[in-house]
């Protein structure tokens, strides 16, 4: 198990390097530089641009720029002549942001606190975890309920709602929630007040979790239906066990296994879903920061965003695999 985990973690490194190379290469190929400004406004003087180009190392050959960004760079102190290693993205250093012209680093923007407010990362992470909890804690009971009441109106209602959630995706559910509850009924303000610990989180959590909720509900329902016919369940019932005990102790344990496998792909959907959920509900998280960076063509921010998102995706998949091994002792990793 430990060897397996280590191998999985090591496999993440080439994936991240390829992702970095791809985004880096694409960013380099793109016409227009980060210091191009609106031609109608005051232009940057050539001297200033030269200094900036030097600071960002933009005149170095491609491979040097990439290794410098991704891994490490040996920097020489101009006064003492001492050499030191400066780590790149693998050391959590994503470099300065282009849009601030080097005044702030990407990691400050992503993980740093801004004037006493929590970091961008905090908002995204909290939103993602809440959405996942919402989907799991509501989806499993709903799926079990539908399966136990198979072919009744409860079952049909649950199936219909979950099909809607699955097919509509976070975007439409988000818009519908805004239209109904914020714009129409005015239970929530369109402009959220983030000092409130609960209220502004409700709609984005539901929207982001809705697709996963639908998937988990449908999957739980079908796997409970399968387990229901198993011999050991009949044995448990024949022993005269209380229905509740049969459901929660005997059936659920096995029925929940497929749900764990689907959590990997679902966390991918959750992570990319934060991109537009954060825009719709104006959550000041990493997703909205990344979209802003796209608008400003802030390549260092875009690349860091892609790397961080892929990193957390790999982490989520790893945790799902481990959880699977813990829950089901029949599975062994080699």
């Amino acid at each position: 198990m430990t060897a397996y985990i280590i191998r999985r973690i090591l496999w993440q490194i080439p994936v991240l390097v390829i992702v970095g190379l791809l985004t880096f290469g694409i960013a380099k190929m793109t016409p227009g530089g980060p210091f191009d400004t609106d031609p109608t406004r005051r232009q940057m003087s050539p001297q200033v641009e030269a200094v900036l180009r030097d600071r960002f190392g933009m005149d170095l050959p491609f491979w040097r720029q990439f290794t410098r960004y991704m891994f490490l760079d040996v920097v020489t102190d101009p006064k003492t002549g001492e050499q030191a290693i400066r780590w790149g993205a693998i050391g959590g250093n994503f470099g300065p942001t282009y849009s601030s012209r080097g005044a702030r680093t990407v990691q400050q923007e992503l993980f740093g606190e801004r004037g006493g407010k929590p970091s961008r990362f905090y908002y995204s992470a909290r939103l993602g975890v809440q959405a996942l909890l919402f989907a799991v804690l509501l989806g499993i009971p709903m799926g079990v309920l539908a399966a136990l009441k198979q072919n009744t109106w409860i079952d049909y209602l649950v199936l219909l709602t979950s099909t809607f959630f699955v097919s509509l995706s976070t975007l439409i559910v988000g818009f519908l929630l805004v239209l109904i509850f914020a714009s129409g009924l005015q239970w929530f303000t369109v402009l959220p007040n983030w000092n409130d610990p609960i209220r502004p989180w409700i709609l984005p959590t539901i929207a982001l979790g809705s697709t996963s909720l639908g998937f988990i509900t449908r999957l739980t329902r079908s796997s409970v239906l399968e387990v229901k016919r198993q011999d050991y369940v009949r044995t448990a019932q024949a022993k005269g066990l209380n229905d509740q005990v049969v459901v929660w102790r005997h059936m659920l344990k096995n029925a929940v296994l497929p749900v764990i496998t689907i959590l990997g792909p679902l966390s991918a959907a959750l992570i990319t879903g934060t991109l537009y959920t954060e825009i719709i509900f104006q959550v000041p998280g990493m997703g909205s920061l990344l979209i802003e960076a796209i608008g400003k063509r802030d390549y260092s921010m875009i690349m860091a965003g892609a790397l961080v998102f892929v990193f957390f995706l790999g982490l989520a998949n790893l945790m799902v695999d481990i959880a699977y091994g813990v829950v089901d002792p029949r599975i062994s990793y080699k």
Partner: protein
């Protein structure tokens, strides 16, 4: 031996009494027709195709032409705001530039359907091609192609598409057809992996079957075996996968445009593809407080479009693969 001979003749008799031999496709069609949700889905899809094709004749106004002093009119049944009375010429109201929302919706249906179909064709060509070759050839070809598939698939798809569209947005390629060409390419480049895996899996099991062995023994060339014997047998799962992938492509366009990396707005009144649902939703979202109907109608249209395709996909899956029915 005697028993098999008898059962064979019994089968023959049965066949004589039965009306007609049933083909796989005929069977599937019968099952599909019995599925109410799927029939509703098909009807709706045909309706949308008709709307998209006949858009210039159906739309009451030009979707791009702006009329002054006519902006942000609510739909005709909303009369409670004395400052903003509806204009009877615009049934679903107008947007911030005084453009007719109904006409824009009709034309946006076009873009959505095209986005659902064109990248899908590229995806099928790439995915089926790679899946067939990898599955049939095996060995290092299979290994190489599957590693490639794995790498593309390990990237979160939306993020990959965004990176591609951001990179090429300002090029000539990115500006072609209001940015639609770039969206098609990006969606196709990222979207083929699951289909390739599906086809490869099918081919792997099919190539061990007796009829393929027989074809090979007869000396039929590999390309012909692939096209005539293996491909038709993988069609059913491909059709199901395609019908599920169309709504996600339509949604992807809306998401990309909403994030500002999708289609560009057009001001040319003669443009056959002037706007998309994603664009209308973005406009509507930015004017949520002054004109919520600008967001509401495209959202409703997109929902029904996506749900119709989902119903159709569910129906096709149950019809073509009865083993999975009821899942």
């Amino acid at each position: 031996m005697a028993t098999t001979a008898r059962s064979a003749s019994a089968l023959e008799e049965l066949n004589l009494t039965a009306t007609k031999p049933r083909s796989l496709w005929g069977d599937a069609w019968r099952r599909l027709r019995r599925n109410k949700a799927a029939m509703l889905g098909i009807t709706m899809v045909f309706l949308y195709v008709f709307i998209a094709v006949a858009a210039p004749w159906l739309a009451p106004k030009n979707p791009v032409t702006q009329t002054s002093n006519n902006s942000l009119r609510p739909p005709i049944w909303v009369t409670d705001n004395p400052n903003r009375q509806p204009n009877p010429e615009h049934i679903l109201g107008t947007d911030t530039n005084g453009r007719d929302i109904l006409s824009r919706l009709i034309f946006a249906t076009r873009v959505s359907l095209i986005v659902g179909v064109v990248p899908q064709i590229i995806i099928v060509v790439i995915g089926v091609g790679i899946g067939l070759v990898a599955g049939f050839r095996g060995g290092w070809v299979d290994n190489l192609l599957m590693r490639l598939t794995e790498i593309v698939a390990s990237f979160p798809d939306l993020l990959f598409i965004i990176t591609l569209t951001v990179a090429f947005r300002e090029t000539l390629f990115g500006k072609a057809f209001n940015g639609l060409l770039l969206i098609f390419t990006a969606l196709a480049v990222v979207g083929w992996t699951s289909l390739a895996r599906l086809v490869r899996g099918q081919v792997l099991s099919l190539k061990e079957k007796e009829f393929v062995e027989a074809a090979r023994a007869l000396g039929i060339p590999t390309s012909r075996i692939l096209v005539r014997h293996i491909l038709p047998n993988t069609l059913a799962p491909i059709i199901v996968a395609v019908s599920f992938s169309i709504p996600s492509l339509i949604l992807a366009e809306a998401i990309l445009t909403f994030l500002g990396v999708g289609m560009r707005p057009s001001v040319d009144p003669a443009n056959p593809l002037p706007t998309s649902l994603g664009q209308m939703m973005t406009d509507g979202f930015n004017n949520l407080s002054s004109g919520p109907w600008m967001l509401l109608f495209p959202v409703l249209l997109l929902s029904t479009l996506v749900i119709s395709f989902t119903f159709l996909g569910d129906g096709l899956r149950d019809a073509l693969d009865p083993r999975d029915a009821g899942r």
